[in-house]
């Protein structure tokens, strides 16, 4: 089988000044994943590493650079799935974790569950030795500005984001 990888950086609206950064981010992620596949690595490793690279890239709404919740915190969700045996792992509403996709994979490989959430996911991360990062380290200037803007009286973030992801 000839290996293939496809990545995305989120559907929605990309403002002009962010197009180059977004485009180079997805390109780097695809090449990173393809490098793993070319060396005989698994599709699972390839998708995990491609997503880790984009979680670490502040251009994207995941990991560092995530948008903020109503309280101004980064609160993240992630899922990973292996087509070989339909096994899957996911985490939701996790904070202070740099790479939620890595935690999702641990849920898949180290538990009998499909999804761990919030405090349970955090306790599991600690048990697995996954390092916690201060929440502020995941907040970017841009996400903070956007959060503040959405707090203004005349803003309507739900309406504005009805087609964003």
């Amino acid at each position: 089988m000839k290996p293939v990888i496809v990545v995305h950086g989120g559907a929605g609206r990309i403002f002009k000044e962010r197009e180059d950064g977004s485009r180079s981010g997805v390109t780097r992620a695809a090449l990173k994943g393809y490098g793993i596949l070319k060396q005989g690595g698994s599709a699972l490793d390839a998708v995990e590493e491609a997503v880790v690279l984009m979680e670490d890239d502040p251009h994207f709404n995941a990991g560092c650079g995530s948008v903020l919740n109503e309280k101004g915190e980064v609160e993240m969700d992630a899922i990973i799935m292996d087509g070989k045996n339909l096994s899957s792992g996911a985490v939701s509403a996790v904070k202070c974790i740099a790479n939620p996709i890595k935690l999702a994979r641990l849920v898949m490989e180290k538990t009998d569950h499909m999804l761990l959430t919030d405090q349970g996911a955090l306790a599991f991360a600690r048990a697995m030795g996954v390092p916690e990062v201060p929440g502020e380290k995941l907040i970017t200037e841009r996400s903070l500005e956007r959060w503040k803007k959405n707090l203004e009286a005349d803003s309507n973030p739900q309406e504005f984001q009805k087609d964003l992801g």
Partner: protein, 131 residues
């Protein structure tokens, strides 16, 4: 939201999706990404998908598994993703994007929003886009 789908030299497929969710979201609001079949799905018998867009809409149509359903009916990745996104838009008014790789190594990056950064590598050839 970010995501990846892949097929390796052994023919195994996988998907991964990660997100910060919606800006100023209610504390505890969980969208499609963490829900299997909505934020992503992978089955060696069909292929793998990762989705992005308005989470509540994606969950209502179970977008990732719906895309693979259309492929099971014989549609190509591109046709299947387009069909699934169209039904999401007509049924619940939501917009979004889907990346797909099939068990035979065909792929698609399709979206109904204004933009979606994407990149793909096959046979050593890199392709990417945003509009």
């Amino acid at each position: 939201t970010v995501g990846a789908v892949a097929i390796d030299s052994a023919g195994n497929v996988a998907c991964a999706t990660s997100t910060g969710g919606l800006s100023n979201k209610r504390v505890g609001r969980v969208g499609d990404t963490a829900c299997i079949g909505s934020g992503g799905y992978a089955d060696n018998a069909i292929g793998a998908t990762s989705t992005t867009g308005h989470g509540e809409s994606i969950m209502k149509v179970v977008l990732a598994r719906l895309t693979l359903y259309h492929m099971e009916q014989g549609k190509s990745p591109e046709e299947a993703a387009t069909e699934a996104l169209n039904s999401m838009e007509t049924r619940v008014g939501g917009l979004g994007g889907v990346i797909v790789v099939s068990r035979s190594g065909d792929w698609a990056a399709t979206f109904s929003t204004k933009q979606m950064p994407w990149a793909a590598v096959k046979d050593g050839q890199l392709q990417s886009g945003i509009h």
